[in-house]
Amino acid sequence: MDLYEYQGKQYFARFGIPTSPGAPADTVDEAVAAADRIGYPVVVKAQVKVGGRGKAGGIKLAGDSAEVRTHASAILGMDIKGHTVGRVWIERSSDIAYEYYASFTLDRSAKKHLCMVSAKGGVDIEEVAATDPGAIARCHIDPVDGLSAETAAALVAEAGLHEEARAQAAELLVKLYTCYVEGDCDLAEINPLIVTTDGRVHALDAKVTLDDSAAFRHPEWEEFAATETLDPRERLAKEKGLQYVGLDGFVGIIANGAGLAMSTCDVVEQVGGKPANFLDIGGGANAAQMANALEVISSDENVRAIFINIFGGITRGEEVANGIVEALGRVEIAAPIVIRLDGTNAEEGRAILAGRASDRLVSVPTMIEAARRATELAQGATR
């Protein structure tokens, strides 16, 4: 789960990482009230989970309440790369002397944590990495040992941060690492990490991605989950406990297992179709799960045919077939369905499906043929 900037900053604050005083606001009046409380000048910042807010006009400096009113009115409701701004973050403006970069993430190749620090902050770090790789100090951290104060100090020196800022920056780096590990972040990034003209080091932005697998030990994450704006199909799928990713095609996909679901999308595209979604119903594939999956898929108006691709491993073919038949009794489906059922006891399963076969429910023995059939039906169908 990605956090909004203001949530990231609030999360940072729990671990003692200094940020500017600020408050979120959902209306112009709230924005003005917050700014009056915080003290001028303030910055009005659009809260969207996408980069390039500044260029899009989503970040504005305001010297008084009239300017806050003007900017908040313009920014609230603004569209930034397909994201509608529903909330702004009002924060005290900072006088910036220097802009740095700091982050922690997992290096999957090295199987260790990766810390990156740079004196070239405030710009796209990928670009710095491409044009001036020497400007980024990198260090792998063994998760068993953690990040020591000595290593942090060495890193900020290697990155060439200004001498007078190093002690504060190193201390902040250790806190950011604690936030990253104890806060179960996949990514904890500060860009820019600033030094103010009066010599204070603090986080001017916050990019935090939380590890969804760790949610069980973070009840406090519920408030973040509540503000997630999902595609309506994805929201419904999440409520039903399904692994779903919306795509922009017209063949609805249901498969058991993440790999097979990806593979099914690929095969549909190879035969000239376009997958409308990725959906993994997980192990089991019982009637309730199948009914939920069909319900989510049918809520997508672009879906003109549905391809159910099941490989029975532990789950036996006849159980899957019975599940599909039962699910079809529970959910009204407009689009024709093509089913490919293979693996353990597939013959028995196909026999059950054959009893229900029609031009709306077609059973095809192999994955490729089924993908072709579903694509043909989708291309010929009007809903």
Binding site: R108, R217, G257, A258, L260, D266, D342, G343, M367
Partner: protein, 296 residues
């Protein structure tokens, strides 16, 4: 021969109670012919469940039964601790199928094993397990889709595509030495490279089918290994050609970060290493049939 496990492997199932997933899968593995010699449960030491003696700890189970492999399917919040317990008890091969272990737990346990327990190999987590056709099955693979006798070794990140690939081979009459599911998480205990090295060293494995997916760079690392160290032919398939960037496709590790980890890049790296790259699992089976024919 098979890699990592064979008919002599003795398995302890961690977390056994009459209603546990561990017992359910352990009994299935036993029915396949696997030697399931023990179970563990801190509150049920001394019990016998379905003929399986239960011990309070893995260390006790190892001391009493000589178990040399463990099987873990406990919930995510207990999984890291269970893996460490097995390593501390000196178990050389640990299979963990648990899905949804926090990434930091996984990274910590991986590095702990590397540093303090180099004699323990972890397979998984979030994997289907391992099957040595006709000899030993630890995990959740349905045994009847595997065909004994070789000559193909199979290694996969995905579970269901692992089954699909086993089935494609079996349908064509091509046997397998061992099928290894390494799992779809960001920090797997056993990597493609580890399994490829084992297959290269195994005289009965004469060709390898490798199933990858988007995210990370394990397939690129495998391509480097194949180019430099493998004499045996490899056929590969990568799932997720159509996956959009920045989205987790079901598995925690299946995510394209920016332009990194795409299926296309992985397929190109493998092809450049001399691997036969297939576009889908069915084609992978067909291409492997051609490779096996050419082996004579």
């Amino acid at each position: 021969m098979s890699v990592f496990v064979d008919e002599t492997t003795k398995v302890v199932v961690q977390g056994v109670s009459p209603s546990s997933q561990g017992l359910y899968h352990g009994l299935r593995n036993r029915a396949y012919g696997t030697q399931v010699v023990a179970g563990t449960n801190p509150k049920r030491g001394g019990d016998v469940v379905e003929g399986i003696p239960v011990f309070a700890s893995v260390a006790e189970a190892v001391a009493e039964t000589g178990a040399n492999a463990s099987f873990i399917s406990v919930p995510p919040r207990f999984a890291a601790e269970a893996i460490v317990e097995a390593a501390e008890a000196g178990v050389p091969f640990v299979v963990c199928i648990t899905e949804g272990i926090p990434a930091h737990d996984e990274a910590r346990v991986y590095n702990l094993l590397v540093r303090d327990f180099p004699g323990t190999r972890l397979l998984g987590p979030n994997c289907p397990g391992i099957i040595s056709a006709g000899k030993c099955n630890i995990g959740i693979t349905s045994g009847d889709i595997a065909l004994p006798g070789g000559p193909v070794g199979l290694v996969s990140r995905s579970g269901t595509v692992f089954y699909q690939a086993l089935y494609e081979l079996t349908q064509k009459g091509i046997g397998q030495t061992t099928g290894v599911g390494i799992g779809g998480d960001p920090v797997p205990g056993t990597s493609f490279t580890d399994v490829l090295a084992a297959f290269e060293a195994d005289p009965e494995t004469r060709a390898v089918l490798m199933i990858g997916e988007i995210g990370g760079s394990a397939e690129e690392q495998a391509a480097d290994f194949i180019k430099d160290h493998m004499t045996k032919p490899v056929v590969a398939y990568i799932a997720g050609v159509t996956a959009p960037p920045g989205r987790k496709m079901g598995h925690a590790g299946a995510i394209i970060s920016g332009t990194h980890g795409t299926a296309k890049a992985k397929m190109e790296a493998l092809a450049a290493a001399g691997v036969v790259v297939a576009q889908n699992p069915t084609e992978a089976g067909e291409k492997m049939a051609g490779v096996v024919r050419d082996l004579g």
